[in-house]
């Protein structure tokens, strides 16, 4: 696999076709976990691990999976990796496992994993699929963390649990609740869409 290919995958998954901002996937978990930066990082890490391994496995088996049951097979593979991750975490890092609680199970239902399986891993070699998964997860994690920094600051007056509310402003309870993520993600999508539209208008000839 060429170096340029990895770079292109990175660029596409993190920016041009960002799972959250451009494809509007993974919104459900985004609403739930972005009220604390630490939760978002952990969720992002779990997703990167799961989507990379699932895409790798699905790509390895892609020649053998019968077309009509491919989705159920994908779900089986995804669920197996997530449960495996959960068991190992419980045994080896019990403190982190306790802090994560129900999030691990949530990873199985994250549409990004199946999205990558359907859109990429099914028709590309394993190593490419693995990196595609890593970068798709990374793009998701970056958006999560940006939203979490805003929500945690306005909602709790903290950053990573450290008090940074120096001005002593009144924290907004709405920022702690899931709807706050809707407002922020809406604004972010609007900004990114604008940038993309402007790019296409000015230098559309350069890139397809």
């Amino acid at each position: 696999m060429k170096k340029g290919a990895i770079k292109a995958l990175f660029r596409r998954n993190v920016w041009e076709e960002n799972q959250v901002l451009r494809q509007i996937l993974g919104i459900c978990s985004l609403l739930a976990v972005t009220n604390l930066v630490s939760n978002s990082l952990v969720m992002g890490g779990g997703l990167i691990f799961s989507v990379a391994l699932s895409s790798f496995t699905i790509s390895l088996l892609r020649e053998y999976i019968p077309h009509r049951v491919r989705m159920i097979v994908q779900t089986l593979i995804i669920a197996s990796w997530v449960i495996l991750f959960d068991i190992i975490l419980k045994a080896v890092l019990p403190d982190i496992s306790r802090a994560l609680g129900p999030y691990i199970g949530l990873i199985i239902t994250n549409c990004i994993i199946m999205g990558r399986a359907e859109a990429f891993a099914q028709m590309n070699p394993p190593v490419e699929s693995f990196f595609d998964g890593v970068f798709a997860g990374l793009g998701y994690t970056i958006v999560l963390v940006i939203i979490a920094v805003i929500r945690e600051f306005l909602g709790f007056g903290t950053f990573f649990g450290i008090d940074v509310n120096f001005v002593g402003f009144q924290t907004w309870t709405i920022m702690v609740m899931p709807p706050a993520a809707f407002f922020i993600i809406g604004v972010m999508i609007w900004i990114v869409n604008n940038i993309m539209a402007r790019k296409q208008a000015s230098g559309g000839g350069k890139r397809g």
Partner: protein
């Protein structure tokens, strides 16, 4: 065999499921002792904490040296003792419905059952960042020292704060606590000797 034939599909699905299920079963069996031990340690830690005992360097040793298991009805409780062998307090299991799932833990009560020593949760599924804050120290610590008056339920107010934006979880904890205390009082004859 054709890839889209029924037979291939069935064999493939069964085989793949068997492979992954076996992989998970082996991992689970391999790690089960460690997982069980971790869970037991979380419980030991909570029990020591509600009785105000520091876990020290070796949690398991401290636990077996400082505490005596006892039975209240069919509930397993633990008693801590002072140097003279008198009971200092009891750790009594707490169990009930939270907003999203069951909440399990322990409360510590003084030997004469007249005040709370502490409260800890072992399991809770409240919304992280909202109801999940019932597991934060400031919330749990305010219950230490709350007097237990027969016939009077514990309520938020004077020196006891609920969590902003998580009224349901806060109230659920209070209800579970009051249920646990009234349950505990039915064993008063056995315990407060």
């Amino acid at each position: 065999m054709k890839k889209d034939s029924y037979l291939y599909t069935i064999i493939f699905t069964f085989a793949l499921t068997a492979v992954f299920a076996t992989m998970l079963a082996i991992t689970q069996a391999y790690y089960l002792p460690a997982i069980t031990e971790n869970e037991a340690n979380v419980e030991r830690h909570a029990i020591l904490k509600v009785l105000g005992i520091s876990p020290g360097d070796d949690l398991v040793t401290t636990f077996s040296e400082q505490l005596q298991p006892a039975l209240a009805g069919d509930l397993q409780i633990y008693a801590s003792y002072d140097a003279n062998g008198d009971v200092l307090g009891y750790a009594y299991p707490l169990d009930g419905q939270g907003l999203w799932g069951s909440i399990r833990g322990y409360i510590g009560v003084s030997a004469s059952l007249d005040r709370l020593l502490g409260m800890e949760f072992i399991e809770q599924n409240e919304t992280p960042g909202l109801g999940g804050r019932i597991d934060e120290d400031w919330f749990k610590e305010q219950f230490a020292g709350v007097p237990l008056v027969p016939g009077e339920a514990i309520a938020y107010g004077d020196g006891l704060d609920a969590i902003t934006g998580a009224t349901s979880s806060s109230n659920a904890v209070l209800n579970i606590l009051n249920d646990t205390v009234s349950d505990l009082m039915t064993h008063k004859e056995v315990l407060a000797r």
